[in-house]
């Protein structure tokens, strides 16, 4: 069970704005806020993660069904449906995570460093940052389905 911060330094609205900007600019996908939850997505999913260390330490985790991650990658690579490899899908979700994380970093106390993104994919897996406290979480929905973004403070 995780505790949730009551006064996060980065609000859900700010994370929503960053995600809408990234998805809108690079994928031409409009995202709308939905009620956040921590239930796993049905079927296969892809999860990207970047860590912040320094004046503020924590992690940014971006989760989406594989169908969403694949559609995002196809938009980024300007590729035909079904033509991309897992490496290309994970590259794309990693870069989306990096952009969200980099923009969130700009709202947090400095100086800090941002890690290179890690990406996991599959079915029925969990990703945990041991000891971390959930600072903010948003669930957004768009034409390719949902995406969940969580900010954890270590």
């Amino acid at each position: 069970m995780s505790l949730t911060e009551t006064t996060p330094l980065v609000t859900a609205d700010e994370i929503t704005g960053i995600a809408q900007d990234v998805w809108g600019s690079f994928l031409a996908m409009d995202l709308e806020p939905a009620e956040p939850h921590d239930e796993p997505f049905a079927g296969e999913s892809v999860t990207g993660c970047v860590h912040l260390a320094g004046a503020w330490g924590g992690s940014v985790i971006v989760e989406a069904p594989t169908t969403h991650a694949t559609a995002a990658a196809e938009a980024m690579f300007a590729a035909e449906a079904g033509s991309l490899s897992w490496d290309e899908v994970s590259d794309a979700l990693g870069e989306l995570t990096n952009m969200v994380g980099g923009n969130i970093k700009g709202l947090l106390p400095a100086p800090s460093t941002l890690s290179i993104p890690s990406v996991a994919g599959g079915e029925s897996y969990t990703l945990r940052v041991p000891g971390a406290v959930l600072a903010s979480r948003v669930l957004l929905t768009g034409p390719a389905g949902p995406v969940r973004i969580s900010l954890w403070r270590s």
């Binding site: 900007d21 990234v22 990658a73 690579f77 994380g101 970093k105 400095a110 941002l114």
Partner: protein, 121 residues
């Protein structure tokens, strides 16, 4: 003119190239490298006129890449395209010899504005 795009994400290298073409810079030769170490090698062999580099990369990151170039006496025109854009990073980039820092996400207008003077020179 040769433009070298350095980013560890293949997807982002494609987006940067596509956006540059949309911004009106289609008549240039585009080169790619996946990190600063590879970027240093490409700069030596290909002698690009402009380098557009990510900041957060494995091995040799963007600021180390720029500093190594300048330490070797290479004065190639250099700009950052990065998801991080704090005041401290902008100051360090300028101090180290970068002409500009473009924050991700960007649009073709962002590139047109940042590069029009640089590529016209």
């Amino acid at each position: 003119m040769k433009i070298l795009i350095v980013d560890d994400s293949k997807a982002m290298r494609m987006i940067v190239t596509r956006t540059l073409r949309q911004a009106g810079f289609a008549d240039h030769d585009y080169l790619e490298a996946a990190d600063g170490a590879e970027g240093l090698a490409v700069v030596q062999t290909e002698r690009p006129d402009l380098v557009l580099s990510d900041w957060n990369m494995p091995d040799v990151n963007g600021i180390e890449f720029l500093q190594k170039l300048r330490a070797s006496g290479n004065e190639v025109r250099f700009g950052f395209v990065t998801s991080e854009s704090t005041d401290a990073m902008r100051a360090l980039a300028a101090e180290s010899g970068a002409l500009f820092l473009i924050a991700k996400p960007f649009t073709s207008d962002t590139f047109a504005e940042a590069l029009s003077g640089v590529l016209a020179a």
